[in-house]
Symmetry: C2
Subunit: 215 residues, 2 copies
């Protein structure tokens, strides 16, 4: 039986799913802006960030209204709680894409990235977008196996991030300190983006199975 509670929960889930999708799209565009020193693309990410922030407010209000009006208990209450936490993670994912876009804009018309690290960021961008889309899908499907795979993709991100630091720290690095600072921050933004997607996946697994996947 469909209840008012479930209709409201579906609406909250849709907002959350949209937020994850928008965060993934923002990271896709921010990565393009970074790889091609594309100012228009960077500006677009920066302008569009308001959508994610506005969806966050709406989703938090929806979660709040749900609790106030429906007073859910037990599993339903946990689910609203979980959605609320997921909304915070999705907002941070959008904010991290915004930070990437801002670095691309700051360095324009130059590219923030020297040639040696272009491939790293291209790949980290692909993984991030994939993770955003996975988060978007699993908050709706609630499939614990699909959710658990998010952690596996994060391992690939961590590995790339580690190797990236190796390149920057290498004695043969000739691009100076300013580029190293940018790359350090950018690497951190991609890594944190992935971490938030992992958190969303872990919560879906926990809600579905009662056990958290291994960290």
């Amino acid at each position: 039986m469909r209840t008012a509670f479930h209709a409201q929960l579906d609406s909250l889930t849709e907002m959350l799913s949209n937020m994850c999708g928008l965060a993934g799209l923002a990271m896709d565009r921010a990565t393009q802006a970074l790889l091609y020193a594309d100012l228009a693309m960077a500006e677009r990410v920066i302008t569009d960030h308001d959508q994610v922030a506005s969806l966050q407010t709406q989703a938090e209000e929806a979660a709040f209204a749900l609790l106030a009006l429906q007073a859910p208990v037990a599993g339903d209450l946990r689910r609203v709680f979980g959605s609320f936490q997921n909304v915070a993670d999705a907002e941070r994912m959008g904010a991290l894409a915004l930070h990437v876009a801002k670095i691309a804009r700051r360095r324009h018309p130059h590219r923030a990235l020297p040639d040696e690290v272009i491939d790293y960021f291209a790949e980290m961008g692909l993984i991030a977008v994939d993770l955003g889309n996975n988060a978007r899908d699993v908050v709706t499907s609630r499939d614990p196996e699909q959710a658990a795979r998010i952690s596996e993709k994060d391992d690939a991100m961590d590995e790339l991030h580690k190797r990236l630091f190796g390149v920057v720290m290498d004695e043969e690095w000739t691009h100076g300190v300013a580029a190293a600072v940018d790359i350090t921050l950018l690497g951190r933004f991609y890594e944190r983006f992935a971490d938030h997607a992992v958190e969303i996946g872990r919560r879906i697994v926990f809600e579905a199975t009662g056990a958290a996947p291994e960290a």
Copy 2:
């Protein structure tokens, strides 16, 4: 009249307040570890982080039980919601102190910081500890004026952070890329620590006055 709801809310508030205090203490010790290449102090922060993580779980369960058993409405419900968000911010503050301690440990027996930036980190450490303590106090006092002052201190942190980048990016920087990478990450950790304290302060102001302080 004291109700079961208020007794439980007080208990939740106390956990949250403890978390903020522990995060401030952790950042104090992590800063000492960083400034003096003090390995024992770094290890202590790393070991003690479990306390913050465990308090987070307890506080989230307490907030959840409060909603499940007391079904608060209107302002009381908003307050539980706000506490729940504050718990997430306090946990991040603790995690950021942990990251600082890990960099101090990684560089031991060397100091991660060249002389030129020691004063910056000493001051950023003081501000961070102050912010942690302010957050600890305002979640209990709920005084909006005290809470609003957190944002002012964050301005000082942002200013220091900006000047720190100026030092690292300067042509006269002679400490190479590895130190610059460490300092970039460390600067970001202190800045984010402050941001989370600001978020807690903003929520207290919002709950007390219905209006968010200017960003």
